[in-house]
């Protein structure tokens, strides 16, 4: 599984299952071998190896990042249901998604396509963008240190911070000193350096994956594949 999102308002969490092309919704308190309360799956869904997702509890939507597009479903969609919107485009290679409910923005980390350096960028769209809409802003470039995305990213809407893990540019499969978690502002535009990096480069992280935020305790939670571990950093600067 490459994605999960918890929804505090409805106390449920969501998981994409790429091999069965489904989005599963579980009760927040689900435990053991418990069936999902809803399953989005079927020909109308257009789900195609869904990897990562985001929840928008304000507008009641689930945002799915796939290989070549972004699908948006009703939060309580169930069964063989078509998406509300589809964002696509020749240069769109989504590696995740996050919604800024304060600024009404959709952040898509997108991997580069075609030739050139294997480098990613953050595409900032209007939240309701669809079709081949152009991003409002793009964050990326040499100074940005945005290289290869490592896993699901996060946005903290109250401060407009974008938080994402980077693998570095070595292309290493196992581990690399180049990996880190970086913090950018959602208002950044162009080749902007990260405002903070934590856990690296040349830090404790060996192959960072996903990130999550604990606003109450001002903490950043990070998974690391090579450490096979979950690390928690005190990181009040995000909040």
């Amino acid at each position: 599984m490459h994605g999960i999102a918890y929804n505090e308002v409805h106390d449920e969490f969501y998981i994409p299952t790429p091999l069965s092309q489904a989005i599963l919704t579980f009760r927040g308190a689900a435990n053991g071998e418990e069936a999902p309360i809803r399953v989005i799956q079927g020909p109308l869904t257009q789900l195609d190896e869904p990897q990562r997702l985001a929840i928008d509890p304000v507008h009641n939507e689930i945002v799915i990042a796939q290989d070549r597009n972004v699908l948006v479903f009703r939060r309580d969609a169930n069964g063989n249901e078509a998406p509300l919107r589809k964002l696509t485009g020749r240069d769109l290679r989504p590696y995740g998604a996050a919604v800024d409910t304060v600024r009404n923005l959709l952040v898509i980390p997108s991997e580069s396509t075609g030739s050139g350096p294997d480098r990613g960028k953050f595409l900032i769209f209007d939240r309701t963008a669809s079709g081949e809409a152009k991003p409002l802003r793009v964050i990326g470039g040499d100074k940005s240190m945005i290289s290869r995305f490592s896993g699901p990213m996060a946005v903290y809407p109250p401060t407009g911070k974008i938080i994402a893990g980077m693998r570095g540019e070595t292309g290493a499969e196992l581990a690399t000193d180049e990996c880190f978690v970086g913090v950018w502002n959602i208002t950044d535009n162009g080749d902007v350096p990260p405002h903070y990096t934590i856990g690296g480069p040349k830090g404790v992280l060996q192959m960072v994956r996903g990130v999550a935020l604990n606003a109450k305790h001002k903490e950043l939670i990070v998974t690391d594949k090579r450490l096979n571990a979950v690390l928690t950093f005190y990181f009040p600067e995000i909040f």
Binding site: P57, P158, E173, T197, I198
Partner: protein, 467 residues
Amino acid sequence: MALRLLSRNRNKGIPVLGLIATIAGFLLLLDRSTLTESARISRSGGQAQLISVQPLSPMLGEMCQWLPASASGSLASALQQERQAARAAGESPTATRRAEVVARKPARMIRDPYAAYSSIAVDPVHDEVVLTDENLFQILVYDRLANTPPRARMTEPKRMLGGMHTKIEFQCGLYIDPTNGDIFAVNNDTVRTLVIFSRSQRGNVPPARELYTPRGTFGIAVHETTEEMYLTLQHDNAVSVFHKYAEKDDAPVRLLQGNRTMLADPHGIVLDTKNKEMFISNYGSHHLKQSTSQEDSREEKANWPNGVQLPGSGRHLPASITVYPLNASGDTPPLRVIQGPKTEMNWPTALAIDVERGELYVANDMGDSILVFSVSASGDVAPLRTLKGPKSLVKNPTGVFLDLKNDELWVANFGNHSATVYKRGASGDTPPLRVIRSGPLNEPSLGIGNPHPVAYDTKREEILVPN
């Protein structure tokens, strides 16, 4: 819940517009069931009637101040605060502050310090048992008769392989070459390389041989007579067959893949060379493939699996064992399928076969059991016998091996840091003959295996970690 969200936001000086949006969203999100309930009460009650009058309880604490009809002054002030907060968030921190953050150590780390055994094989020639460790990324070799005393913390392995040079990571399949003791160890979906070590290698050394594989390899089986090596491919619902001595960029010699194969997230594989059949365990996640164009083709090697999913074709199927002719290729349907509630299968992982007795062994991960079926079983059939229970110590078994020379059954228990040995034919809640542990007795495994996404449950203050 909404109050908690708002309270937290207010403390953090959240912009008013954000609060309004949150409140509006919450009101819009009122459950259909809630609305239905309100409507039902309204219908049953007919017109509104005065039923009783009760005094309000005395008020404690301060009362909110009434806002004037026009709150534009307050709103402007709030908007000003929002702009200030936005400006502050956009300011760049000093170099000193950035250096301080980059050097910050984690406050906590969740990590299992002990090996978690995932797959297992016995080298009967050298009287050794080999285990892969999916937690600390090692291959561990023990004396076959090792037995961890109950009071001991663990048993030290005779030899171990591990470290960056080995390319070992999340290993899930294992094969020992009976002719020379070579170790074939399968990396799962984070490393697209099959690593082969000679028996004499140890420590952090490069593999003696590498083979670049499709992604998501899991199970391995080798037909020694034909010198063919079979690998299951989770993501592509396929079986790739390579020459046993293939290396680097060598292409597979055969591919079993297609919408009629009924392969659905295949894991374990075992060969019945006597009856010329191949058995595959399937977790059940299924999708159809669509024909590929040149643009979509991921590899140009012969017999390389098609990785392009047909959108919207996914299904969750019950777990199964599918059986094929040993030399099956292309879109060949199974000869037989073992599937259904009587089978008790729940994430059937590794497989082993007893050709003499005609029995198929299944490591039933989520069932905490070893299931034994007849090799001719078909349909929704109950196992011939089951090894399961607290005395058996079988917990999340992901590896199973039959040592026919010594008449023993071995199980790798991912869930409790142990490998357990039984007499062949053991059933019920039978205690093991011997136990090899990598950690203290009764210390449960954390079960972390390739953590990727993570979420925080604010209601329960819990970290959710899919693997």
